[in-house]
Amino acid sequence: MAFDKIKQAVVLMERERVKDLVKKSLEKGESPKAVLEQGLIAGMKEVSKLFSTQEYFVPEVLMASEAFYAGFDLVSPLIKKDEVKEKGKIVIGVVEGDIHDIGKNIVKVMLEASGYQVIDLGKDVPIEKFVETVREVKPAILALSALMTTTMVKMGEVIETLRQKQLRDRIKIIIGGAPVNKHFAQKIGADACGEDATAAIKLCEELIG
């Protein structure tokens, strides 16, 4: 029941309540992994559902994400690495020239809540930075975001540069953001396009499990 309360507090965007409930659960001796999975992550999954059915919108998801992280920051240092089945590494970032990162941040929190290890390069990320990180980190997926029609073209340039450096075939590439869709993804050589955060998670699961 304690986990249900945590889940509900995430869904209701109650940051302080999430913190209190997580602390209490840990004091009672609940496993941090269970608090994370059955409370916090379950809450974000519900938020994701509400977002896809247009009962929640971006402000609600941002507030719920804050509540999620309030609990996540308490439990994650207590979880041993071998306790969690890691689903794979995902590098995410907003392409060069674009500073709109809310969509990317929402996808990031949903991915973390789904068990992926996310390396967030932030916003206005130069092509070289994406290439360098792909080479060093060897992620399973590279997720590119852009909000503007002026910057979406940079996504194609990132992919082309990865191709030139013979790094493209090592990874799956997904794109997202208001101006892009699956036709654009095909045109620039991405593997897929996520219409929103929920779709992005589904895509990652389909691509790498």
Binding site: F57, P59, E66, I102, T150, P179, V180, H183
Partner: protein, 287 residues
């Protein structure tokens, strides 16, 4: 009478405007957007060049979304926009529109977008103050533009249902838009609203605003206000003739329409794609 006004008055079925803005026009001329966006003469020159190159039915003075948000800094460019609008109004016979931001979106730039979105649910006072400041600023800016006799497009992308709920739209975005539209209509000039992304749940409210044109992504729902759109932004970017033809034919089933792209044409779009859109539209345009 120009074609846009004729369609608004239902005396003509269609007019056309692929939403070509300063960034694409600058590229046609091998100029940098940064150069064009801060110089009224160059901005007018680039937009006039784009108009003469493609021959569409209106011109939109739009360089980038940050014009009004930068007025308190050394980057204030509103006087350059006014200058460009004035030059184009004198030189062109097609209607000249200036794009301004809806107070809701401008307020989000003033607070910072992420904080603004959180404040919508947790700090109503700060939101109301920011929107009030943005509205007061836009009224002053609008008055200067209206004196030139130019038409206005209000872009309010943050008010899209892709971002906020219909309830938040009604509480915070609706009234400031209504105030600005009334001011435009009081001068007998054309008022357009552009909101990208999802809009269906707020269409009845958008319809009640009293604007002349609604530029939206999905033009299939019925509205009393004249719609503008029909071609997906990525379709024009990709230049897929089959898809372009399909979208244009479908759009032209609307009894009255300004056939346009759903949002501004991406800067690097091949000019041939834009010409193709106009050619196809002419081929299928209802008489």
């Amino acid at each position: 009478m120009d074609k846009i006004s004729q369609v608004i008055q239902r005396k003509r079925k269609t007019a056309i405007f692929p939403i070509v803005c300063a960034d694409h026009c600058a590229r046609l001329l091998n100029m940098k957007l940064s150069e064009v966006a801060k110089d009224g003469d160059k901005l007018a020159f680039a937009l006039e060049y784009g108009y003469r190159f493609y021959q569409y039915d209106m011109v939109l003075v739009f360089s980038d979304p940050y014009v009004e948000a930068q007025t308190s800094s050394s980057l204030d460019r509103t006087e350059e926009i006014i200058k460009a609008a004035s030059i184009l109004k004198q030189k062109l016979t097609v209607p000249v529109f200036v794009s301004i931001k809806g107070p809701f979106t401008l307020a989000s730039f003033l607070i910072g977008i992420e904080q603004f979105l959180k404040d919508l649910l947790s700090n109503e006072k700060r939101i109301k103050n920011a929107i009030d400041t943005a509205l007061k600023f836009q009224i002053k800016y609008l008055e200067k533009l209206l004196k030139l006799g130019v038409n206005i497009f209000i872009g309010d992308p943050m008010a899209s249902i892709s971002v906020i709920s219909p309830n938040l739209f009604e509480r915070f975005a609706y009234q400031p838009l209504q105030i600005l539209i009334k001011k435009i209509k009081d001068r007998n000039l054309i008022a357009g609203i552009h909101i990208c992304g999802k809009t269906k749940p707020i269409l009845p409210m958008l319809d009640e605003l009293g604007a002349d044109i609604l530029s939206i992504e999905d033009i299939t729902p019925k509205t009393n206000t004249l719609k503008m759109g029909g071609v997906a932004t990525d379709t024009i970017f990709s230049g897929n003739e089959e898809k372009l033809t399909e979208e244009i034919k479908k759009a032209l089933n609307e009894p009255y329409l300004i056939l346009a792209t759903a949002c501004d044409v991406p800067m690097t779009t091949d000019p041939q794609n834009i010409k193709l859109m106009i050619e196809i539209a002419q081929r299928y345009r209802m008489k």
